[in-house]
Symmetry: C2
Amino acid sequence: MLAEIITIGDEILIGQIVDTNSAWIARELNNIGVRVKQISSVSDDREHILKALAEAHHRANIILITGGLGPTKDDITKKTLAEYFNVGFVESDEALVNVEQIFKKYNRPLLDVNKLQAQVPANCEVILNKNGTAPGMWFDHDGRIYISMPGVPFEMMYMMEDTVLPKLKTSFDLPHIIHKTILTVGEGESFLAQRIEDIEDSLPSHIKLAYLPKLGQVRLRLSAYGTDEAALTDEVNRYAQKISERVANVVAAHEDLPLEKVILDKMAVKGFTLSVAESCTGGYISHLFTQHAGSSAVFLGGAVSYSYELKESILGVKNETLWQTGAVSQETVKEMVEGAILNFKSDYAIAVTGVAGPGGGSEDKPVGTVWIAVASVNKTVTKKFTFGSKRAQNIERTAISALGMLNTLLAEVEN
Amino acid sequence: MLAEIITIGDEILIGQIVDTNSAWIARELNNIGVRVKQISSVSDDREHILKALAEAHHRANIILITGGLGPTKDDITKKTLAEYFNVGFVESDEALVNVEQIFKKYNRPLLDVNKLQAQVPANCEVILNKNGTAPGMWFDHDGRIYISMPGVPFEMMYMMEDTVLPKLKTSFDLPHIIHKTILTVGEGESFLAQRIEDIEDSLPSHIKLAYLPKLGQVRLRLSAYGTDEAALTDEVNRYAQKISERVANVVAAHEDLPLEKVILDKMAVKGFTLSVAESCTGGYISHLFTQHAGSSAVFLGGAVSYSYELKESILGVKNETLWQTGAVSQETVKEMVEGAILNFKSDYAIAVTGVAGPGGGSEDKPVGTVWIAVASVNKTVTKKFTFGSKRAQNIERTAISALGMLNTLLAEVEN
């Protein structure tokens, strides 16, 4: 079963907002066995919308449309849909009651322009909008399902969860899609591909392997399409296991999780705690951990020690170390990580110090020079990296490399 | 001049990643006077890509394609482009040297599959990829420009900034677009709109005003289209000044800068220093500041004090305060911010503590309860906020609110 998502609105096309709705919708559809064939973002323009609908009609069975349902003049989705289906408008009692209730709740006078929101194309079934005044619309036309929803994320999400997904499940006999992801760290895409080439070549045509690389990590994702869910799951797991065994030395997780979450989960199981001493990443590593719910069970916190003074006062780095070897040195990063373990009383710690750039580089230590240390109570590992000239990337690469090093140190304990 | 963006890759269509590239590209194109007509996301599928290219050809003058350029089998953009243009492959010396240099730098053996990355369709001009092995490609075909770039954001961004945007500017006679942005903090969109309604109504048709709201901030962006750059600039500046004067009490900057950068710049001029004590934001505020080059002149660092112990040991919060009033209280946040000023020896400090969720809430302090403090050496301001139930939003709202409070405190000093 194929779907197409059409997002309507100039704000996406001028780059004012990032379209996060489509990824969410795509994920939800995938989970019920509907494959998204294309996502198109078009402007609030009658002809352009009509064209997009006609094209989608040829590609997909289910067409989901978001945006352009507001009460103002620039929102033309509803009237364009009526034109596309060649029908007139009717007033929906259900939608009108909803609009009235919302205005009553917020104690605002009901304007004529708001009453108009209850007018819908004659051939639609209304999808109730519990979080806003614009009704969603379900059309069954010429062998295709068209679904129009507001662009406001939480209004759309509510409609999808409450009405659209359940209704799609009962309307179609959907196939199963099984995804299985293996997270690898520390080996490039092409090297991985070489190592598992024969396994990849042996995959049946209904199972696809994708390489999803991201700064020092590669996700290997197997996707299988079919009707027998149990058999599919079994089949995918078997191939996943073959791959995992082959590249076992770089596998960090058998789920689609970010590396820092994998680390938090591993550490939580063992009751380990973690602290950080961040210089050049300036809080980014802490942020990666603390964005995850439940991180406080493992992550105690740490220091963002940008200045020499804070490296000394919070972390106990020796004054002579800083002045003799500089803030970006093996000696300093070692004292930082060991200071974190000692002062923050954690089982493990990460420390990073480097020249993120664009300024601050020298001949000895050009922009992109970074020292990273990870430590347990018994062992400290330090490593020097030479990244590039871009600040944001240096921060990101430093963080990912530090996570990779901590993951390796944790694996040593496991074995 | 119209452009279309085609993103290629199953990872977008299954919702595994959010397409942030398109919004970035659209914004950059807009800045040089190119309008994006449509954004399409299609799968790694030969026929589908061919169809998308042919459709885009009818709609746009410039077609920008991202993704599908990796060395592995699932990446088929390059070969599909060669088929679309009906040309063979040639080896690009420039691209080969680049691949060789990258492998040499990282001291990895060059595989045949990597050498293949230097093979490009015969009709293309290579766009150098300084950050990766896949070359970008520029095609001039049948009155249209086609540009193929990797999907990895920083590889794509580098190519756009270094080659594509300058080359588009010289290839086409583009109209001038002048943007002027005013950053306001602390007043809602509709209230601002009411205050400047008459100025907005007096704008000539070639100048547009957009309201760009984002969590407690609204950017007012004037955009002018025309041929005489100097006259346009002059005209836009005059309207911008009118607006700035009208809403002077909420204007934080007359440039399109993030609030934390505005704060860093203001503080740098005065020689002020800043430290932070972060609990529920877990490093995110530090990260906001330190992502900006030169932040070390102002930002000394601080503590990510997730645990009670670290609040005591690094910040000097009293044990009895924590046990009597809890970690999320006015007393604790006050001691945190004053501890930061004292221990980190900064002129200003920010402290935040709250229940980010989804766990950890109580009847007294439900998820979303946050205390924020900002302080100078002489003055401490504390404020309680009640946000929602989503962790990521609570972290973001807390950070933005803290920046707003610091900006207000700094403004008091100025006046």
